[in-house]
């Protein structure tokens, strides 16, 4: 049986800060119709606006508030590529239709608009919807500036590259942040492998597209071989097996001792292990077209001790461009082994002394 009261309470609590529900409550069906237009136009606008250049980007649709009557520097834009030419701290966009917007670089007071219409606002720290009665903060999505500009990928290679450059590089994901010992990103906590795997699974599940796609963590290749991530494209015989390894040191903060110290040999062990999985998989499912991927999370730092709490740029980035030499080079000698991907996690450094 459902615990009805508990669940209704939980849903209502969640709805009290959810923008769709708050807009419906405050502006009714007209507000929802405007919301659909805003949500459809935002990804188009964000293709041309480099969000990080602005302190705020404010977007709204209103019949009561007219931007051109408030600000003389207002531009009417129908070709959205022109949005890229605005160079200012703030950008205010009034949506007229899916094909036409008014743009101003003036500062706007949100409270002037919300009595009649909701307002969406991006700032580098958060995205929010303002309504008559509520301010709804949107969840942060790893690897993207806005939860309305989430790119998807049709190829696993493309998805892994994006994951490496936008999520792993700056640890822009709760799972990876949790796996790290401190904000300086010098050491892992003990046993970070499950968090690293979950980070990748979460990303691939959300971003990868494909026929009958399924992304599953920890899948058995045979009775003794569990692979970290398995990606299956249903209705085809295509499978990807992803083996994850991490390099660097893990620190137990209670005992202030290193629990592991993995160097590049760990990555080579991973390559050997993946080659064995692929062999076992070929016996288990001989008719499948399987590709193996080795992903190495690299947190190696130079000259660190148990009591290191800060790191300079030279030592922090020492390994950033030091690729791992594999022997044998399975990716060269096997057709089912993709080139290994090393994902370097950059540290938060203090300036070098000299």
């Amino acid at each position: 049986m459902l615990n009805k009261e508990r669940d209704i309470k939980a849903i209502r609590e969640f709805l009290s800060s959810d923008y769709t529900s708050c807009i419906l409550d405050d502006y009714g069906s007209a507000g929802i119709n405007n919301l659909k237009v805003i949500l459809e136009i935002i990804p188009t606008i964000f293709k041309f606006v480099h969000l990080r250049n602005f302190s705020s980007v404010t977007i709204f649709k209103s019949d009561s508030f007219n931007l051109s009557e408030r600000f003389s520097n207002c531009s009417n834009i129908q070709n959205f590529s022109h949005l890229g030419s605005f160079n200012s701290d703030n950008l205010v966009i009034q949506v007229r239709s899916l094909d036409e917007v008014l743009v101003s670089t003036s500062e706007i007071t949100v409270t002037d608009i919300v009595p009649t219409d909701f307002v969406y606002q991006y700032t580098p720290l958060k995205e929010q919807f303002y309504t008559k009665t509520t301010t709804c903060e949107l969840p942060q999505v790893p690897g993207t500036d806005s939860c309305f500009a989430i790119s998807t990928f049709k190829s696993l290679e493309e998805a892994l590259y994006h994951y490496k450059t936008t999520v792993v590089k700056c640890a822009d994901c709760l799972h990876i942040k949790t796996a790290l010992h401190s904000d300086e990103r010098i050491f892992f906590k003990p046993h970070p492998e499950y968090l690293l795997r979950d980070s990748m699974v979460y990303f691939l599940k959300a971003r990868l597209r494909g026929e009958g796609l399924e992304v599953r963590p920890e899948q058995a290749v045979d009775t003794s071989h569990p692979v970290d991530v398995k990606v299956t494209w249903g209705f085809t015989n295509h499978i990807a097996l992803i083996e994850i390894k991490w390099l660097g040191k893990s620190l137990n903060s209670d005992t202030q001792t290193f629990t592991s110290n993995y160097t590049d040999s760990r990555a080579r062990d991973g390559a050997k292990q993946l080659a064995e999985y692929l062999d076992a998989n070929a016996i288990q499912v001989p008719n499948h077209n399987t590709m193996g991927y080795l992903v190495v999370f690299d947190l190696r730092r130079k000259s660190t001790k148990e009591d290191t709490t800060q790191i300079d740029i030279a030592n922090g980035h020492w390994y950033e461009n030091k690729e791992i030499t594999y022997n044998p080079k399975y990716h060269d000698v096997r057709k089912d082994f993709a080139p290994p991907t090393r994902m370097f996690i950059t540290p938060q450094c203090i300036p070098n002394e000299n």
Binding site: M1, I11, L15, S29, T152, K154, K205, R209, L213
Partner: protein, 201 residues
């Protein structure tokens, strides 16, 4: 010979047209996903399972699909109402025109709001999120723990769980608005709330 289901033809055109507008193109799994989601939204409004006009089963991976939708995709491709490249479809101008004409027919008009709401959820949520939510809904979840193949069927006991979940949502959302965008998006988010909230459903 495979029979062509007119509802599946219409739904495929409608969903394909919307997916193309929102995400550029679409594959067969994505069409299946949104047809299934639309069917569930018709239950939200209290329609019987027979309302939808064709059935869904689970495949070997436990994912909902309809053979009628596959047949519709093939048929529309042969008629040049869809075109396909690298496993992704696009709707042609002929397909768009056909969709527009059919949408005014009485027999299809009454399913527009469900198809519309399911596809519009893509405005608020990424497609991967929607896929994960639908794979966690009560009927699919129950089917993955049993030998049941037919999903949306009065004889499937899990339907009762879905109706109960929808009753909760209706009570919590508490609106007279006939547009299903907010319930659709809320339900998808609800399905991914921490397990202690929806574990029983």
């Amino acid at each position: 010979m495979e029979t062509i289901n007119p509802f599946a033809i219409y739904d495929t055109l409608f969903v394909g047209n919307k997916l193309q507008r929102y995400i550029g193109d679409f594959n067969s799994s994505e069409v299946q996903l949104f047809c299934y989601f639309s069917c569930l939204l018709s239950l939200y409004e209290g329609n019987p399972t027979s309302f939808w006009g064709y059935k869904f089963i689970k495949n070997d991976l436990g994912v909902p699909l309809s053979t009628e939708v596959y047949t519709a995709l093939d048929c529309l491709l042969v008629n040049n109402e869809l075109e396909k490249a690298d496993n992704y479809y696009k709707i042609t101008s002929e397909g768009k025109s056909k969709c527009e004409v059919l949408s005014e027919f009485g027999r299809f008009e009454n399913r527009n709001k469900y198809l519309e709401a399911s596809c519009e959820s893509l405005l608020a949520l990424p497609i991967g999120y929607i896929r994960n939510s639908i794979n966690s809904e009560p009927i699919v979840r129950a089917a993955n723990n049993s030998t049941v193949r037919t999903l949306v069927d009065e004889e499937n006991g899990a339907i009762a769980l879905l109706y109960e979940q929808f009753e909760l949502l209706k009570e919590a959302i508490d609106t007279n608005d006939s547009d299903l965008f907010v319930p659709a998006v809320t339900w998808l988010k609800y399905l991914q709330l921490p397990k202690d909230v929806n574990q029983d459903a």
